[in-house]
C-alpha cells in the first residue's frame, strides 16, 4: 500500500462510504473510519448552514438538510478553503426546486453577500476629485466586491425581512424583471434591488469602463435627452453608494 493508494481509497470512503482495498486490509477499526466520515459530512453541512442562514429559515430545516445532502453527494469539495464550498449550492437548488425561483435567487444573494464581505478592499472616489474629471474620456472602475443578478422574484424583500427578524412576505413574482446589486461599503455588505436597466448599465460600465460609452448605451435605449440625464442620475447614485472606486483618464 503506497501513500497515494491509501489517500485515494480514503477519499473514496469519505465520498461514497465504500472502503477501498487499502482501508479494508490496512486500517484497524471501522469505528475510526466512521468518525472521519461523520466529520467530513458534518463539516460540509455546517459550511452550508453557516453560509445560508436565511435560506435555511425560508425553506425549513428539513428541506435544507435534504438539499445539503444532495449537494454533498454530487459535489465533493475541491478548494483549499472550506468557505468556497458554499459556492454553487444555488445550482443544486435549481435542480431540486425547479418551480421556486425565489429559492434560487435567495441562495444567490445570500452567497453574494458573504463573498462581498471578504472581497478585495477598494477606496471610494472622493467627491472633491469629481471637479477635475474630463467626462468625455473618463474611465470608471467598479468596486471588486460588486456582484449582480437578474431577478424575477421578491427574494430581496424576503431576505431583508428574515435578516431583520420579521415575518417575510410570501414568495411572489415581480411585476417586471429587476436586478440585484451586492457590494461592500467599508466593511458592510450591501444589497439593493434596482430596475433592469440600471443593472444592465452597470454591467455595460463594468465591461467597457468608459463613461462616454455608458452615455451612448443609455441614449440608444432611452433617447438623447433621457439617456444623458439617466447617465448622470445613475452615476451620482453609484458614487454616493461607493460602487465606483476609481475614475481615471483613457
Amino acid at each position: 500500500m503506497t501513500l497515494a493508494e491509501l489517500q485515494r481509497d480514503f477519499q473514496t470512503w469519505l465520498v461514497t462510504a465504500n472502503a477501498g482495498a487499502s482501508l479494508r486490509s490496512g486500517a484497524r477499526a471501522m469505528a475510526g473510519l466512521a468518525v472521519y466520515q461523520n466529520n467530513y459530512r458534518a463539516q460540509l453541512v455546517g459550511c452550508l448552514e453557516q453560509s445560508y442562514p436565511q435560506l435555511r429559515a425560508w425553506i425549513g430545516d428539513e428541506a435544507f438538510r435534504a438539499a445539503a445532502i444532495t449537494h454533498i453527494d454530487a459535489h465533493p469539495p475541491h478548494a483549499w478553503t472550506l468557505d468556497a464550498y458554499a459556492e454553487g449550492f444555488d445550482r443544486t437548488l435549481v435542480a431540486l426546486f425547479p418551480d421556486n425561483p425565489d429559492v434560487h435567487e435567495l441562495a444567490w444573494l445570500e452567497h453574494a453577500l458573504g463573498a462581498a464581505f471578504i472581497a478585495a478592499d477598494a477606496q471610494p472616489v472622493p467627491l472633491d476629485a469629481l471637479a477635475r474629471i474630463d467626462w468625455d474620456t473618463a474611465r470608471l472602475s467598479i468596486t471588486p466586491s460588486f456582484r449582480s443578478m437578474a431577478v424575477t422574484t421578491n427574494a430581496e424583500q424576503i431576505w431583508s425581512a428574515l435578516w431583520e427578524g420579521q415575518t417575510p412576505p410570501d414568495g411572489a413574482m415581480l411585476e417586471r424583471p429587476a436586478g440585484l446589486l451586492v457590494w461592500r461599503r467599508g466593511y458592510v455588505s450591501c444589497l439593493k434591488q434596482v430596475d433592469a436597466i440600471e443593472r444592465e448599465a452597470l454591467l455595460q460600465l463594468q465591461a467597457d469602463g468608459g463613461f462616454a460609452g455608458l452615455c451612448d448605451w443609455l441614449v440608444e435605449r432611452l433617447g438623447e435627452a433621457d439617456g444623458v440625464a439617466k447617465a448622470g442620475e445613475l452615476l451620482a447614485g453609484w458614487l454616493a453608494s461607493e460602487l465606483i472606486t476609481g475614475i481615471g483618464a483613457a
Binding site: 473510519l33 468518525v35 478585495a120 471588486p144
Partner: protein
C-alpha cells in the same frame, strides 16, 4: 533551515470571533494570540482589518488547517503563496499546521486525516515541509493530530515519526497535549511513552484543549474545558519542555473570555511550578 533560536515562552489564547470585541476594546492579559490562517487568507474586508488591529497589540501565531503536509502529490502553490502573503504582512510568532493530510488530487476533505507512520510517508512529508519552508522563508511548526484510526504496516510510532521529521527538516513541533491523550486512549498506547519519545528541543508551542467521549472513541472536539487528565499530562510535559509557548484552543461552545482566561491562569501556574522545580533541580 533551523527553528527560531530564541524561545518564546508566553501564554496565549486561540482568537475566535466571539472575542474580537474583547481584544479590540480592552487590554487582554495574554502574551500572544493564535488565529486560524485560512480565515485570513482572503482578499480583504473586515477580518483582515481586525487581524491587523489585534496584531498592533499582541504577537500573533498563524495556525493552519489546510496545508495538507501529508499529501502524496505535494503541496498547492496557490495555497503557499497566499499563506506567505499573510505571514509577510502579519510577521507572526509561529506559522504552524498539522501532521496530517486533507487533500488528494482535486479532492479536499477539509479534515485532518491520519498519515501512516511509514518510511515512504516520512519521505513525502519531509519533502513537503522542505518546500513549504522554502516558499515561506521560515521554519514551520507541525502539530501531532488527534487520530481515530491506525494503519497496519506502521514502521514507527507517532513520536518516532515526529522526531525524525523535525530532525530531517528543521521544523519545530507544536505539541498538542489533548491530542496525545485522545490518540493514546483511542489506540491504546501509553501517553508517557509518547512524552518520553518527543525531542523537546524541537518543541516550540503547546496546545491545550478539551475533548468529548464519542460512541466508541474520544473525539477532539475543542468544545469543553481542558480535562483533569490533560492537565496532569501538561504538568509532566512542562517538567521536560523548559520554557515554551502554551495556549488554550476552544472552537465550539465558546464561553466568555473570562472562562478561558481562568484556564490560562491554570496553565501559567502549572508552568511556573514546573519551572521552579526544574531550576531547583538544576541548582
Amino acid at each position: 533551515m533551523s527553528t527560531n533560536s530564541t524561545r518564546f515562552s508566553g501564554y496565549g489564547l486561540g482568537l475566535r470571533k466571539e472575542h474580537y470585541r474583547d481584544f479590540l476594546d480592552t487590554r487582554v492579559a495574554v502574551d500572544f494570540v493564535e488565529v486560524i490562517s485560512e480565515n485570513f487568507m482572503i482578499a480583504g474586508g473586515q477580518p483582515r482589518d481586525i487581524l491587523r488591529r489585534i496584531r498592533e497589540r499582541h504577537p500573533v501565531a498563524l495556525h493552519g488547517v489546510s496545508m495538507s503536509i501529508g499529501s502524496a502529490d505535494g503541496l498547492r502553490a496557490d495555497y503557499l503563496r497566499r499563506l506567505k502573503a499573510l505571514a509577510d504582512e502579519i510577521e507572526p510568532l509561529f506559522v504552524s499546521d498539522h501532521l496530517s493530510w486533507s487533500r488528494y488530487a482535486a479532492f479536499n476533505s477539509h479534515d485532518l486525516l491520519p498519515v501512516p507512520y511509514t518510511g515512504e510517508a516520512l519521505d513525502i512529508v519531509c519533502a513537503n515541509i522542505h518546500q513549504a519552508q522554502q516558499v515561506l522563508g521560515r521554519a514551520m511548526l507541525f502539530e501531532n493530530p488527534s487520530s481515530y484510526l491506525a494503519f497496519d504496516g506502521a514502521e514507527m510510532t507517532e513520536w518516532e515519526f515526529l522526531s525524525a521529521m523535525a530532525e530531517r527538516t528543521g521544523c519545530g513541533l507544536l505539541l498538542d497535549v489533548n491530542n496525545i491523550y485522545v490518540s493514546a486512549t483511542n489506540h491504546g498506547f501509553d501517553p508517557q511513552a509518547f512524552i518520553a519519545g518527543i525531542p523537546f528541543e524541537h518543541v516550540r508551542q503547546i496546545h491545550l484543549a478539551g475533548h468529548s467521549q464519542g460512541a466508541e472513541l474520544l473525539i477532539d472536539t475543542h468544545d469543553s474545558p481542558v480535562s483533569e487528565a490533560v492537565w496532569k499530562l501538561y504538568s509532566q510535559v512542562m517538567g521536560r519542555a523548559g520554557p515554551v509557548a502554551t495556549m488554550i484552543e476552544r472552537d465550539d461552545d465558546i464561553p466568555p473570555l473570562a472562562d478561558l482566561m481562568a484556564e490560562l491562569a491554570t496553565a501559567r501556574s502549572l508552568g511556573a511550578l514546573r519551572a521552579y522545580h526544574r531550576e531547583s533541580e538544576a541548582a
